[in-house]
Amino acid sequence: MHANSNLVNRTPDQFIAWTRTGPLTVAQFARAADHVATKLPDRRFVLNLYANPVDYLLGFCASTLAGQCTLMPPNRLQKTLDDIRLDYPDSYLLGPGGSGGLDIRDCLADPAVADSGDLGLPPIPDSQLTAIAFTSGSTGLPSPNLKYWNTLREGTLSNVAMMLRNLEGPVNMVSTVPPQHMWGMENSVLLPLFSETAIAHQAPFYPQDVKEALQNIPAPRVLVSTPVHLAAIAGSGLDFEPVKRVLCATAPLSLSLAGAIESLFGGELLEVFGCTESGIIASRFRTREEEWTLADAFRLDVSSGQATISADHLPGEVRLQDMVEKTADQQFRWLGRHQDLVNIAGKRGSLVDLNRRLEQVPGVTDGVMFFPTDEHKRLAAMVVAPDLAPADIREALKRQVDPVFLPRPIVKVDELPRSASGKLTRKALLDLYQKVKPGAGAPS
C-alpha cells in the first residue's frame, strides 16, 4: 500500500503568486506546471537555477510532477555545479542559460493555461525523492540530504502551523533568500503549496529592492530574510510598507536588530531555527522570548553535550551542529555552535575543510583561518608562505570556496605559534594576530 498526496494543496481561485502582470491563481499555476512537466528533458535530476521564486516554484512543481528530483547546489560556483553534475550525470540545468530550453514565463502566458474548477494534477507518492539539499562538512565534499515527498510535506505542514500561526487568511510574501537554499525552499517554494501564501516574483537584494517588492504586494505582508539582509535594511534609512510578520533564520539575530526591524515594519519578528538535515524545527518571537519552542512534530534529546532531533517524518535522527540546553520537553536555550561550523551570510562551511584547503595551496607551508573576534563576520588568515603574496593565496582559494569564506585579511607570518605537538590554541593565535594584523604597528 503506497501513500501519496497532492502537490498543490490549495483551492483553485486563491492566489499563489504575484507576477509582473498581476496575481496568478492556483488553477492557472497548476495548469502551467502540468504543461511545463510535459516539456522537460527526460532526466532523473534537475538543477533549478531560477532566482525568481515564481519561476523556481513553477520549475520545481513541473519537475516533481514529471517524477524528477530537484538538486539544490550550496552555491553558484561553476565548479560546484560541475562537481554535482559529475555525481549526478543524469541531470540538466533549468533556468537562465539552462538546457531546459523553455521560458517558464511563456508557459504562464499560454491561453491553454486557463482557469478551471479542478486542479486535476496527479498525486505525488510519499516515497518520491523530490529534492536533494547539499551541505558542506569537514570532508570537503558536499553531503547530499535526501528529501522525500512525505518529509517535505510533513515538514511544511509543521512550518505552516509554526511560522504562520495567528495569521488568518491569505498572506503575501517577499523573500530575500534564494530558493536554492533550504531556508528559501521552505518558505518561498513550499509555503505557497500548503497555505494561503502568495509569493512575489522579485528576488530583492538591496534595501531599495525590498522596499519596492513590498510596495508591489498588498497587505498582509510577510518578509522572509536573514540577519545580513535585515541589518542592511535597518541601516538603510528607508521607510517601508507595513509587514505583519518578519521571518528570520540562518544565523543568530541580535535583540537590538530585532527591535529595530519591528519598529521599521510595525510587525513581529519570528526568529526560526533549523538546519538543512532536519528542516525548520523551532521558533521564538525574538523581542519577547528568550527560549526556543520546538514544533510539535519534533523531539529533542540532549546527552553528553550532543543534541539530537527526531521526528516521524524524518528518515533518521539528526545530530545538531549546535549546542543547546533543554529547559522543558519542547523548549530549549541555544548555547552556541560546535567549533567546526562557520556560517557566513547564511552559507555553512567547515573550518576543518577550509583550513585543509588553505594548507594545500602550493607554496603554503602552514596556515590557519579564524574569526578574530566574535563580532567579526569574516574569517581572517595567517599564513606561512615565503614565496607567495596574499593575493596569490586568495586567487588559489577563490576557485574552490564560496566568496564569503575567503579570508580577509590574509597576513603572512614567519611561523604559527604551535605547541610541540602541533596544537594551536586560540589564545596563542589571537596574541600573534594582534601583533601582525594590518594597522597593528601604526602609531596611535
Binding site: N52, Y206, Q208, V228, A232, A345, K377, R378, P403, R408
Partner: protein, 92 residues
C-alpha cells in the same frame, strides 16, 4: 590601467574604507576592472556594505535588476556613473 577621475578616487576610498580592505590601495583600483568575482574579488556581503556607505554619503539607493550587482556594480567606473546619474536626478 585607465586613470581614476576625482569622483572615482573618492568612491574607491569609500569602498576600501567601508570594507576594511587592508591590502588594497584605493588609488590602485583600476576603474575598468571587475569589482566582483575576479578583479577586486568582492562578494555579496560587500555589496550590502557598500550600498549602505553609498546611501549614507551620496543619498543614492542601489537597486538590482534581475541579476544582482551585474551592470551597475560591474566596475568602479560603472558604479560611479550610476551614483552621479542618480545624485543629479535627486537634485533636479
Amino acid at each position: 590601467m585607465s586613470s581614476q577621475t576625482k569622483q572615482e578616487s573618492e568612491l574607491a576610498r569609500l569602498i576600501v574604507d567601508s570594507l576594511n580592505l587592508e591590502d588594497v590601495e584605493a588609488g590602485d583600483i583600476d576603474p575598468e576592472a571587475l569589482l566582483f568575482g575576479d578583479g577586486l574579488g568582492l562578494d555579496s556581503i560587500d555589496a550590502l556594505e557598500i550600498a549602505l556607505a553609498i546611501s549614507q554619503k551620496y543619498g543614492v539607493q542601489l537597486k538590482s535588476e534581475d541579476e544582482h550587482m551585474k551592470e551597475t556594480f560591474r566596475t568602479l567606473r560603472s558604479l560611479n556613473q550610476f551614483i552621479q546619474t542618480h545624485s543629479s536626478m535627486a537634485r533636479a
